[in-house]
C-alpha cells in the first residue's frame, strides 16, 4: 500500500501547484512558467499563438548541390536581310553591268559598318581631294582620281604607302600595269568596277563635252 500513498501525494502536490498557478500568480508569471512546457502557448490577452513555433533541426539538413547552370542555345537569327538574291537585285548597277557601290552608299541602299565590333569600330576620315594625273603630252588621257569615294570605303593605310606613294605623280602608273594587277588594278577589275564600265569613268576627258 506504500506506492499507492506515494502516487496520491504526487497527485495532490500537482493539483495544489496547479491551483496555486491558477489563483496566486500574475498572468505574466504564469505564462512564463507554462511556456516552459507548452511552448506555443499564446501570451496573455491573445487568442492564437502569434507565429507557429519552429523547432531548430537537430542536425543540419543534407547538402544538396546546386543545379548546373542552364545553357540556353539560341538559334542564329540575323538582323539583316539574308535573301541575297533579292539584295543583289536591288543594288544599283552600271550600264555595262556590275554593282555601282559608290551610288549604293550615297543613296543609302547599304550602310556598311566601319568595323566588325559595332561599339569599338572607328569611322575613317573621308578626304575630298581630287588628284589630277596627266600622262606626258597626252592631255586627253588625263585621269582625275577622286579620294572621296575611295576613302568612304578604304582607310588611308589600305593603299598608302604600300600600293601608292603619298606624292602625286611619283608612281609610274600605266594601263598595262593596272591590267597586270598593279596600282589601281589591285582592286579595279577584281572587286571594284572593271574596264567594261568604260574608259571615261577615270579618263574624264574621253567622255567628251558634257
Amino acid at each position: 500500500m506504500q506506492w499507492r500513498r506515494c502516487i496520491n501525494r504526487v497527485l495532490i502536490g500537482t493539483l495544489l501547484a496547479a491551483m496555486g498557478l491558477g489563483t496566486s500568480c500574475t498572468t505574466e508569471t504564469r505564462h512564463k512558467i507554462l511556456t516552459v512546457v507548452f511552448e506555443d502557448m499564446p501570451p496573455p490577452g491573445q487568442e492564437q499563438p502569434s507565429k507557429p513555433f519552429v523547432r531548430k533541426p537537430r542536425r543540419p539538413p543534407p547538402f544538396k548541390p546546386p543545379p548546373p547552370p542552364m545553357i540556353r542555345v539560341t538559334a542564329y537569327k540575323p538582323a539583316f536581310n539574308t535573301d541575297w538574291k533579292a539584295v543583289l537585285r536591288k543594288l544599283p548597277k552600271y550600264a555595262a553591268g556590275g554593282i555601282d557601290w559608290v551610288t549604293a552608299l550615297e543613296a543609302g541602299d547599304i550602310k556598311p559598318q566601319p568595323g566588325i565590333d559595332p561599339e569599338h569600330a572607328q569611322e575613317q576620315p573621308v578626304l575630298p581631294l581630287d588628284v589630277h594625273l596627266e600622262p606626258p603630252a597626252q592631255p586627253l588621257f588625263k585621269v582625275t582620281f577622286p579620294h572621296k569615294p575611295h576613302t568612304e570605303w578604304l582607310a588611308c593605310a589600305n593603299c598608302h604607302p604600300k600600293i601608292f606613294h603619298m606624292q602625286a605623280g611619283a608612281d609610274p602608273i600605266s594601263m598595262e600595269k593596272i591590267f597586270a594587277g598593279e596600282f589601281c588594278g589591285h582592286c579595279h577589275g577584281k572587286v571594284a568596277f572593271n574596264v567594261t564600265t568604260g574608259c571615261p569613268r577615270c579618263h574624264l576627258a574621253l567622255a567628251g563635252p558634257q
Partner: protein, 115 residues
C-alpha cells in the same frame, strides 16, 4: 515513241533538284584555292562573295587587319576558322552564321568564279 519522252522528263525531274544552285557570278567573288594534294574532290573549294560582305562592312573593317589584300596570301584553313581567325572572327553564330556541318555548302559551293 512516247516512252523515251517520258523517260527524259522523269530524268530531268529527278536530276533537277540535285544540280547545284548558286548565286550569280559577281565581280569580286574569290575562290579560295585549296593548297596541297586533294584528289578526293568530295568538297568543293570555298568561294568568298565579296559583294555580300560589302553590303555590311567597309573595306577597312577586314583589310588589312584580318585579310591581306591579295587573294591567296593568307593561309586560310578550317582549323584556323574554327579557332576564330580569318572568317571565324565573324562566322561564330553571333555576327554571322556559324561554321558547322550544317553550313558547309554556304561557302563550299560548286562555282569557280572571279579569281
Amino acid at each position: 515513241m512516247r516512252q523515251p519522252a517520258i523517260g527524259v522528263l522523269l530524268l530531268l525531274v529527278s536530276v533537277g533538284p540535285v544540280l547545284p544552285v548558286h548565286a550569280a557570278d559577281v565581280l569580286g567573288d574569290i575562290t579560295i584555292h585549296r593548297k596541297g594534294a586533294d584528289s578526293s574532290g568530295f568538297m568543293p573549294q570555298a568561294v568568298f562573295p565579296h559583294w555580300i560582305h560589302r553590303t555590311r562592312f567597309k573595306c577597312y573593317a577586314c583589310h588589312d587587319e584580318l585579310f591581306q589584300m591579295q587573294a591567296g596570301a593568307d593561309d586560310i584553313n578550317m582549323d584556323a576558322v574554327r579557332e576564330g581567325r580569318f572568317c571565324g572572327v565573324c562566322h561564330d553564330g553571333k555576327t554571322a552564321f556559324a561554321v558547322g556541318f550544317d553550313t558547309c555548302e554556304r561557302c563550299h559551293r560548286a562555282v569557280n568564279s572571279g579569281s
